[in-house]
């Protein structure tokens, strides 16, 4: 039993020596592919940059930007002014159109020739 147990480390030692010898004798004869080193560096770079989606990037940007009170106030003010301006312009257009329609209706009311009569 004791002899068997002491033989196993001996075998391992022998294997280790053989492996070291084989590795020392091993020569790589196959040429490396073109721009091998560059590609290795690129792969390393790619692995280092964490990949984030557009949505995540936008979310991060929004959170960062709206965290600034000045920006939040400016954003709300600009939207308020835009809404007011659009409402004012649209109301003006609508009122002008109604004005033209009512003007035409008044003229038709008082002038029978405009109604295709007599």
């Amino acid at each position: 039993m004791a002899g068997g147990a002491s033989r196993r480390p001996m075998n391992m030692k022998e294997n280790q020596t053989q492996l070291e010898r084989a590795l020392q004798e091993w020569r790589v004869t196959t040429p490396l592919p073109a721009r091998f080193q560059q590609q290795v560096w690129k792969r390393i770079e790619r692995a280092e940059i964490p990949s984030i989606s557009v949505v995540d990037a936008l979310r991060a940007w929004f959170t960062m930007v709206f965290a600034r009170p000045a920006f939040a106030v400016a954003y709300v003010t600009v939207l308020l002014l835009t809404g007011l301006a659009l409402g004012f312009v649209q109301a003006g257009h609508k009122a002008a159109r109604w004005d033209r329609q009512l003007e035409a209706r008044y003229v038709q009311l008082i002038d029978p020739y405009q109604r295709g009569q007599p």
Binding site: A67, F88, A91, E103, R105, I110
Partner: protein
């Protein structure tokens, strides 16, 4: 992120509220005019800046004018119908046709006189400057079919030249 979304939403709501406020304020007067019993007269009141008393007098004049105008239109239509009957016969009586044309023409003149008198009366109920403006405005749009014809004729001529 929640704070950012809230600010984003508040901004949009504020924009919509601002839009609605000015839109409804800007169209309120016209919506009231359109909902009134006589939107055309309400427009006249606004356009020529009439006071309530002036407007009431003009509305009365208007109510009196419309039946007179309708009656004249009816008589002209009847005269046109008589003329049509004369023209469709086999033996057209030239003198009778001439007479009917004359009568229809007289009725048209009467109709236009009625219109002009009404415009004049309406303008007199307005403040002087507005009355003058009303007469000019109404003259440009009515009583001048010849002007319209000349304009159309001119347009055709211009097109021919091209």
């Amino acid at each position: 992120m929640k704070r950012a979304a809230l600010i984003l939403l508040v901004g949009l709501l504020v924009a919509v509220a601002g839009y609605c406020t000015l839109y409804y304020r800007g169209t309120r007067e016209h919506r009231q005019m359109l909902e009134s019993p006589a939107p055309e007269l309400a427009w006249l009141k606004k356009e020529f800046r009439l006071g309530d008393a002036e407007f009431e007098r003009i509305a009365k004049l208007h109510d009196g004018y419309l039946p007179r105008c309708a009656e004249l239109c009816r008589r002209i239509a009847a005269k046109n119908s008589e003329l049509q009957q004369l023209m469709t016969g086999t033996n057209v009586d030239a003198k009778a046709v001439e007479q009917k044309l004359k009568e229809a023409g007289e009725l048209r003149v009467q109709c236009q006189q009625n219109m002009f008198n009404h415009f004049l009366e309406v303008s007199r109920q307005m403040p002087p400057e507005q009355g003058k403006r009303y007469l000019q405005w109404v003259h440009q749009r009515t009583l001048t079919p010849e002007h319209d014809m000349a304009q159309r004729h001119g347009e055709h001529q211009t097109m021919d030249h091209h």
